[in-house]
């Protein structure tokens, strides 16, 4: 089940999506999270962020909207309270970071590197907080400058997480590749909104939030496929994966590894079940290596 995402080697292609697995502790009460290919930590910023007021989440048809507002303990709090637990894990740990300037990202990435984490994921696409990346993720020039600047300073495998709220996602994939990103991950949430017709208020306090879950899977699969045609660097695919079938679909479209996000909320064991299911699928189809699935779409 081994996969190589460039320099980042995973024991299997099943990862968690940032912001949906906490800092790993909660789900480690349910199963041995070392079985996963990698876990991805919720976005960390330089300073602590309180996040948005509640309600922060609401459900939509086959999906959910969240506007957590990137609540996090900040770099210091993360290093002190979470890193000791994360360091003793026997799986790869990837830290999702976000900032308002290239300097923020560099500072975070360098700290993550020093802390012995295995890779850094640039969240340039979070739609929730005005300065939490929305500019970097949807403006090609800002995007290019950011990745170039971070790449210069950071040796750790660099994952750039793409926003789906753009006209042509492959354009951003290409820039990420050209500027030295080792890996791209996609998709982050689609911007969405829901209104309570009786109170006439938005269902989440932030008015708009990020749509995730099975509802967005067709958009995510299409985007992975478009990016696969545009770039050679490895792709981590995500968006609505809740079962092994979904994971294989992303891999056929071109993903080298996949991440489970909202799926974790439905059942704490979703990642494990996805992993077991991929194994079963490979066995039943006589597939020996995950790489025989990646990009295997026939069309």
């Amino acid at each position: 089940m081994k996969v190589s995402l460039g320099r980042l080697k995973l024991k299997n292609p099943v990862m968690t999506a940032s912001g949906t697995f906490g800092y790993g502790k909660e789900y480690s009460e349910f199963f041995d999270i070392n079985k996963l290919g990698a876990i991805v930590i919720k976005g960390i910023s330089v300073n602590p962020m309180p996040g948005n007021p509640t309600p922060r989440i609401c459900e939509t048809p086959s999906g959910m909207i969240n506007a957590i507002g990137l609540q996090n303990p900040g770099l210091k709090g993360f290093l002190k309270d979470q890193v000791p637990f994360l360091k003793q894990l026997k799986t790869k740990v990837i830290v999702n970071v976000l900032g308002n300037s290239a300097d923020d990202y560099i500072r975070l990435a360098e700290a993550v590197e020093e802390a012995g984490m295995n890779a850094v994921e640039l969240n340039v696409s979070c739609p929730n907080v005005k300065k939490g990346g929305i500019v970097f993720g949807t403006d090609p020039k800002a995007f290019e400058d950011l990745i170039t600047a971070v790449r210069k300073k950071v040796k750790l495998p660099l994952i750039t997480k793409l926003s789906p709220n753009v006209a042509k996602i492959s354009e951003f994939a290409k820039i990420a590749e050209d500027c030295g990103s080792d890996i791209i991950s996609l998709i982050n949430t689609l911007t969405g909104m829901s209104i309570d017709i009786n109170t006439r208020k938005p269902r989440i306090a932030n008015i708009i939030g990020g749509l995730s879950g099975p509802a967005i899977k067709p958009v995510a699969v299409r985007m992975v496929w478009e990016c696969r045609k545009a770039v050679k660097i490895p792709i981590i695919g995500m968006g609505g994966i809740i079962a092994a079938e979904d994971a294989v679909e992303f891999m056929l479209a071109g993903a080298d590894a996949i991440a489970v996000g909202t799926g974790n909320f439905l059942n704490p064991l979703t990642t494990l079940q996805v992993l077991e299911g991929i194994k079963l699928h490979m066995k039943s189809q006589g597939i020996n290596s995950v790489s025989e699935i990646t990009g295997g779409l026939i069309c």
Partner: protein
């Protein structure tokens, strides 16, 4: 880290033994877990999957209303799509549940206990009352009208001192539970501060209650609610502001010391 076996026990298939309407829009659900479970603490909750398919997507949180002969009971009101679908499920069907989750009520060993339940707040408070009946708590339970009182007779079977009230006075005392509480405290011989209140309800009810309690130096703990996605502390959807920072209702709660909540 708790032992794996214990925790895996939280992901359970359960069979619907009964799902009956109690009063308009309110149902009592009795589930038979497929594996033996340990006794949940009053105030703890479960996440229940209400339907097959991917819509509704998320499980719904419901407080433990009773635990009898290894069977779990939930008392719920139909408010939207999820609870509506749940109410249509029938005896014999199977349903996925996750729990018990969160921290239950920590019962004071010294104070006079007042249990306060308005409307559906009775769901967890009933279970708490049943399990600490020996501590001689006083239960103040109210609803809008006689018709919307969920229980009248079963409440008496608990064998504890009970004050029932309705907003319109159609049954028991007239007034809402907070008014009735104030009157009770005024009339009792014990000083206000010798009491502790355990309650459950919406922000609209808890906020004035918290103010009243802190004014009079009364301790008050409440089971709180927030929209939930995961129920286990990972999504950060369910936070409340406390003096000690943001806390997750599903993980550090749902029971909080109300005096520590910072209302917006």
């Amino acid at each position: 880290m708790r032992s794996l076996k214990y925790v895996l026990n939280k992901i359970i298939k359960a069979k619907i033994q009964d799902n009956r309407k109690i009063i308009d829009r309110h149902y009592l659900l009795t589930l038979e877990p497929s594996t033996a479970i340990t006794t949940p603490k009053p105030g703890q909750f479960y996440m229940l999957s209400v339907n097959n398919g991917l819509d509704p997507l998320l499980k719904r949180p419901l407080s433990v209303h009773n635990f009898l002969d290894g069977k779990l009971q939930f008392l719920y009101r139909v408010v939207g799509k999820g609870t509506d679908l749940l109410s249509s499920r029938v005896t014999g069907e199977s349903i996925d549940i996750l729990g018990p989750l969160g921290n239950g009520f920590t019962v004071s060993k010294t104070k006079q206990i007042i249990l306060l339940a308005g409307g559906l707040g009775i769901a967890p408070i009933y279970y708490l009352a049943a399990s600490i009946a020996g501590r001689k708590p006083v239960l103040i339970y109210g609803a809008g009208t006689k018709e919307t009182l969920i229980y009248r007779d079963q409440i008496k079977n608990l064998g504890i001192e009970t004050v029932i009230a309705t907003d319109d006075g159609s049954y028991g005392k007239k007034g809402n539970v907070v008014t009735v509480l104030k009157k009770y405290l005024k009339d009792t011989s014990l000083p206000y501060t010798d009491h502790i209140i355990y309650t459950c309800g919406s922000e609209a009810m808890l906020k004035p209650l918290a103010e009243f309690a802190s004014e009079h130096g009364i301790k008050i703990h409440a089971a709180m609610e927030q929209n939930m996605a995961c129920g286990v502390g990972t999504c950060m959807g369910c936070v409340v502001k406390t003096r000690k920072g943001l806390k997750r209702v599903c993980k550090e709660g749902p029971v909080f010391n109300l005096n520590e909540i910072e209302w917006e």
